[in-house]
């Protein structure tokens, strides 16, 4: 019964996309032409086709080619990436000619109107060969309009030739083999436009009105090397942006903190993390995967009073022997968010590891367990000096 229901879901989502396409009339195809510059018009409604931006070309065989005009589209990666059902991600930032972002030490950089942050989500049938048979599912844009950031989800067509604006999102059941050779099935959700706020709405101060903000474009996440290819080769991402005139005000890279680089976890699992680094690695993982909600300035998640940002020094609010407010099924029958030394009775680990709807965390973007990420949190809690929370 369930597979047929899911098919219905996918069909409905496809209908939704088709309906949206039927509403638009501003761009009659044409495709991407990388000899022409990027096209972003913040005075017009968003185009219904992604190709209208002319940001990048996608070929399942050869991958991404970013628009080279004046080097205004710069790919990047994060030290600690958000997990999204094993989707393979490619990020890039576009800034209008002559405009630059302003460095911020802790928060997201200040970006000029016309900026586009893009993130491609692709799925590979077998993650042991992650470049084979890759299918681009969606491209999410955050576009900086005069009145703020607009989230715009684009869903790729079956032929992989273009993506269409899909404010209603999409849903698809995707089977694949994970990097350990295990068969997995994701209930892959392309969030609807309004759901973007679930993660991207943030209050500048705890009492201010929320606004949509990017998440990854912070110094600590970007402070790492990236292979830009060609004559540039491997360069620090912040330095590269500065050299292109796209970032101003950044201090010397050596003085900028960096989030823990989780690439070793991705390749070697938790065994590749030195024991002395467990705390830094786990906090980095929790920060990028949880703190967009579990933060005093977030919208969702503050009810829990569980704060998982990298800079939280209040161990109780980090979950140590903390009872959840109203977690319902999310408790797994356990009492405390973190029982130091006892990951298997810690709600935090349970919610990261489970695939039960209504219990798992994060709320959106994950339908299957990130095996290595859950193992990292398990090892982190296990390494804490044991505490009997019931006597505290």
């Amino acid at each position: 019964m369930r597979p047929s229901l899911r098919t219905l879901g996918a069909t409905l989502a496809a209908v939704a996309v088709a309906a949206v396409a039927g509403c638009g009339a501003d761009d009659a195809g044409g495709g991407v032409d990388l000899s022409q510059p990027v096209h972003v018009d913040v005075t017009a409604p968003p185009p219904t086709r992604l190709s209208a931006y002319n940001l990048f070309a996608w070929d399942p065989a050869t991958g991404y080619t970013f628009n080279p005009t004046d080097d205004r589209v710069v790919p990047y990666d994060l030290n600690a990436p958000l997990f999204s059902d094993y989707a393979l991600k490619q990020r890039a930032v576009y800034l209008p000619q002559g405009a630059a972002a302003t460095y911020q030490p802790e928060l997201v950089f200040d970006f000029p109107v016309g900026t586009v942050l893009l993130k491609n989500f692709a799925m590979a049938p077998d993650l042991r060969a992650p470049t084979v048979g890759v299918r681009l599912i969606e491209t999410r844009l955050l576009v900086r309009y005069p009145d703020g950031w607009q989230p715009l989800p684009y869903v790729w067509n079956e032929d992989q030739t273009d993506a269409e604006l899909a404010p209603a999102g999409a849903f698809e059941v995707i089977a694949f083999t994970d990097d350990a050779g295990q068969a997995r099935t994701a209930n892959y959700l392309v969030p609807q436009k309004n759901q973007c706020e679930t993660c991207h709405a943030r209050k500048p101060t705890p009492t201010a009105a929320p606004a949509i903000v990017p998440i990854g474009m912070k110094a600590r996440h970007l402070n790492r090397g990236y292979d830009f290819g060609g004559a540039v080769g491997i360069a620090n991402q912040l330095e590269r942006l500065a050299a292109l005139g796209m970032l101003t005000g950044a201090p010397a890279t050596a003085t900028i903190p960096a989030a823990y680089d989780l690439r070793p976890l991705d390749t070697g699992g938790v065994a590749a993390i030195p024991p002395a680094d467990l705390d830094a690695a786990a906090r980095s993982y929790l920060d990028i995967n949880c703190a967009h909600c579990h933060d005093p300035n977030a919208v969702q998640g503050i009810t829990s009073q569980l704060f998982l940002g990298h800079d939280n020094t209040d161990l109780f609010r980090l979950g140590y022997c903390k009872r959840p407010g109203s977690a319902g099924a999310g408790t797994g029958g356990f009492e405390f968010d973190i029982v130091p030394g006892s990951p298997d009775t810690s709600i935090l680990y349970f919610r990261l590891a489970t695939e039960t709807v209504g219990a798992m965390m994060p709320l959106l973007g994950r339908s299957v367990t990130h095996t290595k990420g859950a193992a990292l949190i398990h090892a982190w809690i296990a390494a804490m000096p044991p505490v009997d929370c019931t006597t505290m």
Partner: protein, 454 residues
């Protein structure tokens, strides 16, 4: 005026051309609406989702009769949105095939109204409205189609962190936590609703100025309750539970976990960590553990430091409440239940079969104390009273200002709960009416004022 009417008419004409059938909009249609309005045919999920995700503020969405087989949440992020169906039997948002972990209807936006529809089988909450000012739930039903299933969503009707909230003439059924849950709100009226088959029927949590009347709570684990949880900066106050029917709340507790899983089946009402509460004019009947319990928050969280709140973070008015200071500088605590009036209620047939399976073993304690006699109608835990004596009224203090009296067929006991344990029971103080020293009749600070909504 004329101009607006013309606009509405032309919209209807335009929509009619797209295939809407007047028979599908028997109760409500855009013809009844002033301002921007969109009609969605019954079952047109794609049309509904596209509309909601490209919405201008102050838009009314009228759903035709039929079932919408939803694959994702209905997420509303604009102000002034009205979502109106054709009636709870005619228009259903059905989430049985939604695999994503989402609420059914998920709203952040001021001046929201939802009316005349059913939301069923939502993965998480049925209708959650958060951080919004001006919220109306009217003639809606939030339900799950499998009764007593711990995998049902947590809350049916769920306004949270919102102001000026009205919930009326609605139904909440089969939630695995609370059917109708008002959390961390200010200025709330909840009236003439029916809650049934939930773990907790109707909950008022960390909420200020709530008037709850004319509701029926039938066949839940617990009927209508008010409480504060630790660590929340909205200190609950001025909660009026009046003229409700609270009966047969003996449903097995099917909560998957959390604090609510500890509630004994057969509970009518409790007020926990609450102040300025009036429980008046209600009809209590056949709640097997007992009708009314007045208990300290320390029962669920004994660590007083976890009840400390920095006064700088507190919402609304609190400085007239005489809250106990915390150990930390500039903090108060809100674990006490105090300043409560219980009056003019009617009690029938309750307290005869306390739940013997609740994790806190309240039921076991009650059986040991009462044997086959009915449990007293109002139980007060006496936590925080400097004086307790099971036989001499003069040797009992009423430091928490608990006022009980004038109830039909109503009895009272003070439990000395701090001294009770599974291995050792001590007698309750069970005075005859008028229950001195608990015979006061008014709240400190005057009676609770009417809640006025704009």
């Amino acid at each position: 005026m004329i101009r607006t009417t013309l606009t509405a008419v032309s919209l209807v004409v335009a929509l009619a051309a797209c295939g809407s059938d007047a028979n599908d909009f028997p109760t409500n249609s855009c013809a009844d609406v002033t301002g921007t309005c969109v009609q969605i045919d019954g079952g047109d999920v794609a049309g509904l989702q596209t509309t909601v995700n490209t919405l201008s503020p102050n838009t009314t969405i009228v759903l035709g009769k039929g079932t919408f087989a939803m694959t994702n949440s209905l997420t509303i992020r604009a102000a002034g949105v009205h979502l109106i169906g054709q009636g709870i039997e005619l228009t259903t948002l059905d989430y049985a095939t939604t695999a994503a972990q989402v609420n059914g209807v998920d709203v952040q936006g001021n001046d929201f109204l939802v009316q005349d529809l059913t939301v069923q089988d939502a993965p998480k909450d049925g209708i959650r409205v958060e951080a919004s000012d001006g919220v109306v739930f009217r003639r809606i039903r939030a339900t799950w189609t499998t009764p007593s299933d711990s995998t049902n969503g947590a809350y049916g009707i769920y306004p949270v962190k919102s102001q000026h909230v009205l919930v009326e003439d609605s139904r909440a059924e089969h939630a695995s936590d609370a059917g109708l849950y008002v959390g961390q709100c200010q200025h709330v009226i909840v009236r003439n609703n029916v809650v049934t088959g939930n773990v907790a029927g109707l909950e008022i949590e960390n909420t200020q100025y709530a008037d709850v009347y004319g509701n029926t709570a039938d066949d839940n684990t617990a009927g209508i309750v008010a409480f504060d949880l630790p660590g929340n900066p909205i200190v609950g106050r001025d909660v009026r539970l009046r003229d409700n029917i609270i009966r047969n709340n003996n449903h097995v507790n099917f909560a998957p976990g959390g604090t609510v899983a500890k509630i004994p089946a057969g509970t009518g009402t409790f007020a926990m960590a609450s102040r300025r509460v009036e429980i008046t004019g209600n009809t209590y009947q056949n709640n097997n553990t007992g009708d009314i319990a007045l208990i300290s928050g320390l029962v669920i969280e004994p660590d007083t430091t976890k009840w400390e709140l920095a006064t700088a973070t507190l919402a609304g008015q609190w400085d007239d409440l005489g809250l106990l200071p915390g150990a930390g500088a500039g903090t108060i605590t809100n674990y006490r239940s105090e300043n409560v009036v219980v009056a003019r209620n009617t009690h029938m047939g309750s307290g005869l079969h306390p739940d013997l399976n609740d994790p806190l073993q309240f039921g076991v304690l009650l059986i040991l104390i009462y044997a086959t006699n009915p449990v007293d109608s109002v139980l007060y835990d006496s936590v925080g009273e400097p004086m307790f004596n099971s036989t001499d009224a003069a040797m009992n203090s009423n430091a928490n200002r608990i006022c009980v009296g004038g109830n039909t067929n109503g009895t009272f006991a003070s439990m000395n709960l701090a001294e009770q344990s599974a291995s050792r029971q001590v007698p309750f103080f069970r005075p005859a009416a008028p229950f001195a020293p608990f015979d006061c009749t008014t709240l400190n600070g005057g009676p609770i004022a009417d809640v006025v909504l704009p």
